[in-house]
């Protein structure tokens, strides 16, 4: 039986792991390669590396770090942050990334999704969608959730799937950093409407939040950062809990 995936996210700045509350206040949480190895050994199902300053600073994610990670770990990982061209993708996949994630670049030029999917296959193209509630409606935001767009989140999710995205990484900016639970309703709405997997992100605070997003939220995977980095929840402990709750989990 296909299992639900637990995905620690390592936000990277200057080659170090950081995670800020609502992306503003950054805290140092260690060496990404070592942290990646620990998570892989502990039973994380996948990893995501996001160069969170990349879009703002127009920097490219360090291929060197990607290679070090690829050599060290035995589970799949995704790299995102500032990726905008087919060449960027080729560069990172050759460095050892399994998937790449694009966000602002897809919003600015949706055709890039089709191009990347055609060139490398849908399986390695993750489209990250940062969403925020604006007067009761869900709108896509870019630039770490700071810049609103006119795109409705649900419609955009459908469009990126139709254009060839292999997975959607849906981050609720309203929930991110709150530790009050994932955006279960929106995640369920999008997951039910699409035939591709949806990774839920933003708001994980307790083990029950993961259960909720896999059941009510119909998520295929759940991503979190600080609760793992600061050992508030251990991955073996979380997986044990979810298995006991009847969620299909890799042991």
């Amino acid at each position: 039986m296909l299992t639900k995936r637990i995905i620690p996210c390592l936000d990277i700045k200057d080659g170090r792991t950081v995670k800020g509350v609502n992306f503003v206040e950054l805290r140092d949480a260690g060496d990404p390669v070592e942290l990646a190895k620990v998570y892989s050994d502990e039973g994380a199902d996948e990893l995501v590396f996001l160069d969170i300053t990349a879009t703002v600073d127009k920097r490219k994610t360090l291929a060197e770090l990607v290679t070090k990670v690829a050599k060290a770990i035995t589970i799949p990982f995704t790299v995102g942050g500032g990726i905008s061209t087919v060449e960027d993708v080729k560069f990172l996949l050759n460095a050892g990334a399994d998937k790449i994630s694009i966000n602002s670049a897809a919003v600015n030029n949706p055709d890039i999704i089709d191009q990347m999917a055609r060139e490398f296959g849908s399986q390695c193209i993750v489209v990250a969608i940062d969403t925020r509630d604006v007067d009761g409606l869900d709108f896509v935001h870019t630039h770490g959730g700071r810049k609103p767009t006119l795109l409705k989140t649900q419609a955009w999710a459908k469009e990126v799937a139709d254009r060839g995205a292999g997975e959607i990484l849906l981050t609720s900016m309203d929930h991110d950093g709150t530790k009050a639970g994932f955006a279960n309703e929106l995640t369920a709405e999008i997951s039910a409407a699409l035939s591709i997997p949806v990774i839920a992100s933003g708001g994980a605070g307790t083990m029950a939040h993961f259960k909720d997003v896999f059941t009510f939220g119909q998520a295929d995977a759940a991503l979190a950062a600080s609760i793992f980095h600061f050992k508030e929840i251990g991955i073996p402990e979380l997986k044990g809990y979810l298995a006991n709750e009847g969620i299909s989990i890799r042991k």
């Binding site: 296909l2 050599k71 035995t74 460095a95 399994d98 390695c124 035939s195 295929d220 890799r250």
Partner: protein, 198 residues
């Protein structure tokens, strides 16, 4: 002992090389027929679209080489599908090592079963085979695919998604794995280690 990894414009080639490096194997990345013929083992880590991959092999006359090769040969992911007879993906004639058809997953309920099949799923119904020896008790491996090989006499392990499908194939000197052993933690490492000792 040298393992040739067939060079191909596919994202997982590098990952396969790193996995072999972790196991201490001597591996070369090549699309040169003589180098491939001269290796002790060959791995074809395909990923991507079937007809493009077949055209790539034909353009380098690697299709004939793969059919004639005598060394232990391991196809991975799309590499498994290309060793079959035919793929529904763009109606592609494949190498025909295994008389098996490759079909697209068609879920009856698209909310319950998404396509592609992405994530960790279990190897089941394992045959007694050197590739599958001494695997850890937890047999989860990592999958990313929209097409699958039907069950056949050459199937030596299956996985369930929507229905049972072929997880591992074996015939003569050819083995093939639909999942990504290079990304499948300890189970994947053991599968590769087993292949390296065949």
């Amino acid at each position: 002992m040298k393992t040739a990894v067939i060079k191909y414009n596919s994202g997982n080639v590098q990952s396969v090389l790193y996995a072999l490096e972790r196991l201490g194997a001597e591996a070369i990345l090549t699309d040169d027929p003589d180098e491939i013929r001269g290796a002790d083992r060959v791995i074809f880590p395909g990923q991507g679209e079937a007809s493009t991959a077949m055209n790539y092999l034909k353009a380098r006359k690697l299709d004939q080489l793969i059919r004639e090769i005598k060394q232990p040969f391991l196809g991975v992911c799309l590499g498994l599908q290309l060793l079959c007879e035919h793929s529904e993906e763009n109606n592609t004639g494949c190498l025909g090592i295994f008389p098996v058809k490759v079909k697209r997953f068609i879920p009856e309920n698209s909310q319950e079963f998404k396509v592609p099949h992405v994530g960790w799923n279990e190897l089941e119904n394992l045959a007694d085979n050197p590739l599958l020896r001494d695997l850890p008790d937890s047999r989860f491996v990592y999958y990313v695919h929209s097409y699958y090989a039907e069950l056949s006499e050459a199937t030596i392990a299956s996985t369930h998604y929507i229905h049972d499908f072929t997880a591992v194939l074996h015939r003569d000197n050819y083995w093939a794995i639909q999942a990504h052993p290079e990304k499948s933690s300890t189970v994947g490492e053991k599968l590769l280690e087993n292949f390296l000792s065949i």
